[in-house]
């Protein structure tokens, strides 16, 4: 036996009485054990024992959904640590940020990790959405999982936005003031929604309390449940989407027409696209280690990137929130700057109609676009119309966001970023 030392140590432990009681299977050596490793573990059993080779292609999924999930885990971990110090009070929140920076061990690092993971999560959830669109992966039978994905995207924005207020500095205060004002532009319900969010007409203690409760309890719990359902449905729908193959589609036999010369198990009553174990054995590999190892590797990569960013770039903290002196321009968080740019043309059209239409279109998309061609391939030629429309919307969103971020100066006037004057606060 020439196995490395660590592996031998692990084997010895896993085969011991204690090891077996925890893991049931040691490091799998046979295909039977590889299946058991997946099915007998609570954490792994949400994934199948065997997985289609196509799902493992890094170039297909780019791991974007998984990266988002890992960032979410990092956010939960660092978020709980931050909760040990944070107090959602307008008097104390800002001071706690200062204490984290100056006297709490690793306080700044943890806050930085939380901040970076949050921004990255918004980014990667968006990228994941784009990937699913460009590969046509939202089509039957995954229509509703796409809708849940859109819901998760909105939840991610909500999580980031509610977290934005918590440091209670100028950046937080005015970004939330601008953001909730945009919400207030909606007809009839807009002002009510804004009032409900803020617990008043302006950002104050009530708003902080509500944003805190939403940020640490309501939205994360919702997101966690929806992520679980999202993943479960991925498996139930037969793993990641892939190009149609003849062997994959099975006609569902109506129950009444079952032949009588055979007894049927539950497997045969299952839906058509459930992974058919043994149906295409040559296309499938064991999840352990092919899938699990890739997942672990990706987690290490994400963790390393977040750590790296957190060590070298600090999360911003501006002056203590001051309702009397708005910075000029007061800008929303970056992912809402495209929206803010639209609002600067027309509050109603830019702040209500266009974003409302876009979200509605995203939700209805899988029910409107039902053609089966081109699923499971990037930029399939058959989907050129859908892809073009999506790309135009995406580019428009990016352009408006860039304009809002870099080309807007005091009073939302046009400035070139290379001669951007500093934001005018009250001169000192």
């Amino acid at each position: 036996m020439n196995a490395p030392l660590l592996k031998r140590l692990w084997q010895t432990f896993a085969r011991s009485r204690v090891g077996r009681s925890i893991f049931r299977v040691g490091l799998p050596e046979s295909n039977l054990e590889r299946s058991q490793a997946m099915t007998s573990s609570f954490l792994l059993h949400i994934q199948p024992a065997k997985v289609h080779k196509h799902s493992l292609k890094a170039g297909y999924s780019l791991g974007l959904g998984l990266i988002s999930l890992y960032l979410f885990f990092i956010l939960i971990g660092t978020g709980v640590l931050l909760m040990f110090y944070y107090v959602p009070s307008t008097d104390r929140a800002y001071n706690e940020m200062k204490d984290l920076q100056f006297v709490v061990s690793a306080g700044l690092l943890i806050r930085n990790m939380h901040r970076w993971a949050a921004h990255l999560m918004v980014l990667f959830v968006m990228l994941h959405l784009c990937r699913v669109f460009y590969t046509g992966a939202y089509k039957h039978p995954r229509e509703f999982n796409w809708v849940m994905g859109v819901g998760l995207f909105l939840l991610t924005l909500g999580l980031s936005f509610t977290g934005y207020l918590l440091p209670w500095d100028q950046l937080a205060f005015w970004a939330i003031t601008v953001g909730t004002n945009i919400a207030g532009y909606a007809p009839i319900i807009g002002p009510k929604v804004k009032y409900l969010l803020l617990g008043g007409n302006v950002v104050g203690q009530e708003a902080l309390t509500r944003f805190y409760a939403l940020h640490v309890i309501v939205l994360p719990t919702l997101a966690l449940i929806m992520v679980a359902v999202h993943l479960w449905r991925v498996r139930k729908d037969g793993g990641l989407s892939r190009p149609d193959e003849s062997g994959d589609v099975i006609e569902q036999i109506p129950l009444g027409q079952l032949p009588t010369n055979k007894s049927y198990g539950l497997m045969e009553l299952a839906r058509g696209t459930t992974p058919q174990v043994g149906k295409n054995p040559e296309d499938e590999v064991f999840s352990w280690p092919h899938l699990v190892f890739r997942e672990i590797l990706l987690f290490l990569l994400v963790a390393a990137v977040v750590l790296f960013l957190a060590i070298f770039w600090n999360a911003p903290l501006e002056e203590y929130a001051n309702p009397i002196y708005p910075p000029n321009p007061a800008k929303a968080p970056w992912y809402f700057l495209g929206l803010q740019e639209l609002v600067s043309y027309s509050a109603f059209w830019g702040g209500v109609v266009i974003p409302g239409l876009l979200v509605t279109a995203l939700v209805l998309l899988p029910y409107l676009d039902r053609a089966r061609a081109g699923v499971g391939r990037w930029f399939a030629r058959e989907r050129v119309v859908a892809n073009s429309i999506f790309t135009i919307c995406l580019l428009a969103a990016i352009v408006f966001t860039i304009i809002g971020t870099y080309f807007r100066g005091p009073s939302w006037s046009w400035v070139e970023p290379w001669q951007q004057p500093p934001a005018i606060t009250e001169g000192r």
Binding site: P4, D91, N95, K98, D99, Q101, F102, V103, S105, A106, L108, L109, D169, Q170, P289, F293, R294, I296, L297, L300, L301, A303, A304, L307, F308, A310, I311, P316, L317, E318, E319, E426, G427, R428
Partner: protein, 461 residues
């Protein structure tokens, strides 16, 4: 295990090392804190200076840790002593910072006041740059020592504090330069300029200085004329402005606010009605003795006792026990002692004639800011029909009756006739003072204005 799995192990190892390295780097950056080197330096110094084994052992066991002064009432935490470790040890006098001794100030003990209430800066911070506050996103950098007396004015009346002469001078410059003509401070003043109640918390010394010299350089289109102060006056008024932070001291700190001083005593003397029985310079009641020379006749201790309980030093006196607080009694005593000096008597409002009182009113509300110190005018008001200046007031007695002057002051004049209607209207205008200047003051002010006309001169409009 096939080859592709082997490359996995390689990647695991590589990424594991990367993460391990990053964790170590993060730990090092977190563990290395600037203040620790100062604490080690301090401990080394303590060990060097130790003369007995006990002292040495004590120094060697000093913990390296964040030190802070908690000031819940002031909503502050001052960690300055984390680096400035010897502020309370006189034997460190003359040491270079951060180990220098802070001269004793027994009225402001560290544990009750901390550091930043006077010096400003960022008390919670624990690095030199952040704590001293000259960093982005911190609007309270340390106050230069030149302006340190501004901090006295946050709690104490400027004129009461003998330890802050610069502050008193700044207030003097403020009150006599007519700033109140346009600016409100403490609710009194005009409304052409901005309110000044919190100006000291928002503006830097540099900004203020620039603002006095060329207002339009820091506030575009400012209507304020450039001020011609001497350098000393400029520093003094900048300092006075810095003292106006609008912070109200809570609880314990507010109770320490009144410094017993002659001017405080003078205010009390008028408020409490002493003049009803006692006279100064022949003015006042005749029931009690005249007080002009009481400072020569009586010792301060006698006066204090007299204020506490008149019967105890003058049996049978009709003067009642007023129940003055100890601070009030001391302030009154200071005032009586100062009565020996003539100028105190002449500045008592009730002893002045209406014209003198009117001059006081003229100064109090900052009329001088626009109409000039001696009401001779001359402050530029671009595009005003009156020679592009605010008019002087010396000859108002010729053009207006007293009641017309009354109306003019109370109602003001919002629209100033323009020289050239095509240009921007004149920036300065006459505010309505109706809600501010009271009846008696108004009569005095008008009396003063009428008196301005040079004697024996009759231009004859």
């Amino acid at each position: 295990m096939n080859n592709s799995m082997r490359t996995f192990y390689g990647w695991f190892t590589f990424l594991g090392l990367v993460i391990g390295g990053l964790v170590i780097l993060g730990y090092y950056r977190d563990e290395y804190r600037e203040w620790k080197q100062y604490q080690h330096r301090f401990i080394q110094e303590e060990i060097r200076r130790a003369t007995t084994p006990q002292q040495k052992a004590l120094a060697e066991t000093t913990r390296v840790e964040v030190r802070q002064i908690l000031l819940p009432e002031l909503n502050r935490v001052d960690r300055c002593t984390t680096c400035h470790l010897a502020v309370e040890d006189p034997s460190y006098g003359g040491y270079p910072q951060p180990l220098a001794y802070h001269p004793l100030h027994e009225q402001h003990p560290f544990e009750k006041f901390g550091c930043t209430i006077c010096h400003r800066g960022q008390g919670r911070a624990a690095t030199g740059a952040d704590a001293h506050g000259s960093v982005p996103h911190w609007d309270q950098p340390m106050l230069p020592m030149k302006y340190i007396q501004a901090s006295c004015g946050q709690c104490h009346e400027a004129a009461d504090n003998p330890a802050a002469p610069e502050l008193a001078r700044g207030q003097q410059v403020f009150e006599t330069s007519g700033c109140r003509g346009c600016h409100k401070l403490g609710g009194v003043g005009g409304n052409i300029g901005s309110e000044l109640d919190k100006v000291g918390a928002r503006r830097s010394p540099e900004w203020l200085k620039q603002h006095f010299l060329t207002p339009s350089a820091v506030t575009p289109n400012s209507a304020m004329p450039p001020q011609k102060f001497s350098d000393a006056d400029l520093d003094a008024i900048v300092l006075f402005m810095l003292s106006q932070t609008g912070e109200s001291a809570p609880g314990y700190y507010a109770s320490m606010k009144v410094i017993p001083s002659a001017s405080q005593g003078q205010r009390l003397f008028l408020q409490k009605g002493c003049i009803g029985c006692h006279s100064i310079a022949g003015q006042g009641g005749k029931v009690g003795p005249a007080l002009d020379d009481v400072g020569l006749r009586r010792a301060p201790e006698w006066m204090m006792q007299h204020f506490r309980d008149p019967q105890s030093v003058t049996p049978g006196t009709v003067m009642p026990k007023f129940g003055f607080t100890e601070t009030e009694a001391r302030a009154l005593t200071e005032f009586l002692l100062h009565l020996r000096e003539r100028n105190v008597v002449s500045s008592l409002p009730s002893l002045m004639n209406p014209v003198e009182r009117g001059h006081e009113v003229y100064r109090k509300y900052g009329c001088a800011g626009c109409h000039g110190l001696d009401a001779k005018g001359g402050v530029p008001n671009p595009n005003a029909k009156t020679a592009e200046q605010v008019p002087g007031l010396i000859y108002v007695a010729d053009g207006y009756t007293k009641s017309e002057l009354n109306t003019r002051i109370l109602k003001g004049q919002r629209e100033i006739p323009a020289l050239d209607p095509k240009r921007a209207p004149p920036p300065l205008y006459m505010p309505a003072w109706g809600a501010v200047i009271k009846d008696a003051e108004l009569d005095d002010l008008v009396a003063y204005l009428v008196s301005l006309k040079p004697k024996g001169e009759d231009v004859g409009f």
